[in-house]
Amino acid sequence: MVSDAMILSKEYFMGNMVNIPLIQPIVDYLLNVPFVGYIVAILLWKPMFALLFIPGLTALMIVLLFIIWFERKLTARIQWRVGPLEVSRPIGGIIQPMADGLRYFFQEVIVHRDSHRPYFLQFPILIFIPVLLPILFIPAGSIIAINTPYALPVIVAIVSLIPVFIIAIGWASNSRFAYIGSVREAFMYFAYEIPFIFAVLAMILVYGTADTTLIVERQTIPGIILNPVAALVFFIAMAMATSRLPFEIPEADQEIAFGPFVEYSGILFGLVMTIAYEKMYILSLLMTILFLGGGNGPAILLLGDLSGAIWLFIKTLVVMMVLAFLRSIYARLRLDQALRFGWTTMIEISLVALVIGVIINILGWYA
């Protein structure tokens, strides 16, 4: 038992610290410095490390900056254009999202007269609660913030909250485009939610547990081979949930000018624009955990505990890149087409996935 006095002491944090042999000498030196040592111990404490570095905020920032650039560049390449380039020519314009972010930051935030002012200003910030909370339950190797057997239901429940916030944003904007966008978001939510939950449920049955750490441990064979149908359903549901083309229906730049987010400007637009990408990051992490073996991979000795995290990061990035790739080859479906697809084909396939999950569960593969 850990006594009350021990909690918050340096020794308590050092007991559960991330071990990275590459920087261990520096860490050892810093731990002995009076005040800095305490901070280093907190930062390297596994739950805090998961929250702040990987798969938490730092990784999220890197992913955001990279994937926005990558999406634009890849789409441009496939469409015979050049894409962002002039901001930093020698490195192919990779700091373009940062330049855009700076521009958003210094732009005026306009709150128009008809909007519901408090909600209009609050929701872009409040939406980060459901967007960022699921990261706590994602294990990056041995680094995890909250280890619980109910991790997967919690993640699915929190992710399901995001559309509610987006609809609220559209309502607070009180404009016709935002209204159409909100309604479309609500419809799309109905279209993908059931197949999405079925796919997750199938995987819970396959592994016999909802604990993300255990799931990763039990994946000696990646889940995509065990239940490829569930992987397909999950992937399509992910494209719908993050409003990627061909399901970019709620945002639809050309029709309703970014849908629920049409009235935002300045830094608030910067915040709401990244929501879809953050959601994409969360769902890609979930897909990596469920189907691609999470942080499993050849151990990199020099990185120690970070090795699994790096593998998770790479796999997640690959999933996100595939999602970004979809944008350049598909046209947008109509809302009714997407709904029909979601309520017929998707549910049928997801039921097949569920049956496969039940069979594997009865055969007891994980044991």
């Binding site: 890849l74 390449r77 496939i78 469409q79 015979w80 254009r81 050049v82 790739f325 080859i329 598909y330």
Partner: protein, 250 residues
């Protein structure tokens, strides 16, 4: 009436179409057929007859005003120089780069270039004086690569060549044809004698008889400067070409 039915591919056909789209995307992502010219760093290879900035060679100019007459945008005005000759100035604010003036110039005094990216500070500066037209404008060139579109068989190909394109076209040396002023419609002559007064070489004279006055042009003294052509109020004087042996024979 012909009705076109929307194609309804079956499941396998649908999957095939999806795979086709994905493969096309992958192919273009790996080896894109991008045809963009990165302009300041690359330049497109332009043909020698490109209609760009116009250069002026004063030695070839005979002040015939043809460029000024033909200009559809009224961009060319003639300006009197110190040697009493008239030379063209081009207002690039009006110029439409049709190069009618270059085509019409009898002495090749106006020459085309491939320069198409000249910037001016204001409208007044765009009125290019004769002195500025003699030399090509100063260009800061960042390009090292010339890009060429080539048609091979039926494909339009995009080819990069690591060389600088020379923007000032080297025209073949102009074979000077001797031209003299001549009257093409003597019956319309008013005998106003303006041409006599304007001729710098005293090549034109008036022969009076009892019935009429006729101008006579001395072909040996005429240099073909064309000033009389410009001044003639009824525009019956023209510069006509004289072949060498014919002029020797006279």
């Amino acid at each position: 009436m012909i009705r076109i039915k929307a194609p309804k591919p079956d499941l396998i056909g649908n999957i095939k179409l999806h795979i086709d789209a994905l493969l096309t995307g992958v192919k273009e992502a790996v080896l894109p057929s991008t045809m963009t010219i990165h302009y300041p760093r690359e330049r497109r290879k332009l043909p020698d007859n490109f209609r760009g900035y116009i250069l002026f060679v004063p030695e070839n100019c005979i002040s015939c005003f043809q460029c000024s007459f033909v200009c559809p945008a009224n961009a060319i005005t003639m300006k009197k120089a110190d040697n009493e000759r008239n030379y063209p100035t081009i207002d690039y604010a009006k110029c439409i780069f049709c190069h009618f003036c270059v085509d019409t110039c009898p002495g090749n005094a106006l020459q085309p270039t491939k320069i198409h990216d000249v910037a001016y500070k204001d409208m007044e500066e765009m009125l290019t004086q004769t002195e500025e037209m003699v030399k090509s404008p100063e260009i800061q060139r960042e390009d090292t690569i010339t890009v060429e579109y080539v048609i091979e068989d039926v494909d339009l190909l995009f080819r990069r060549i690591a060389e600088k394109d020379e923007l000032v076209v080297k025209t073949p040396p102009h074979e000077k044809v001797r031209e003299i002023s001549s009257c093409i419609e003597p019956e319309s002559c008013l005998a106003c004698a303006i041409c006599v007064g304007v001729c710098p070489n005293e090549a034109i004279s008036i022969e009076s008889s009892d019935v009429e006055k006729v101008i006579k042009i001395d072909s040996n003294n005429c240099t073909g400067c064309g000033l009389c052509v410009k001044e003639c109020p009824v525009q019956i004087l023209r510069l006509t070409r004289v072949s060498e042996d014919e002029s020797e024979g006279e």
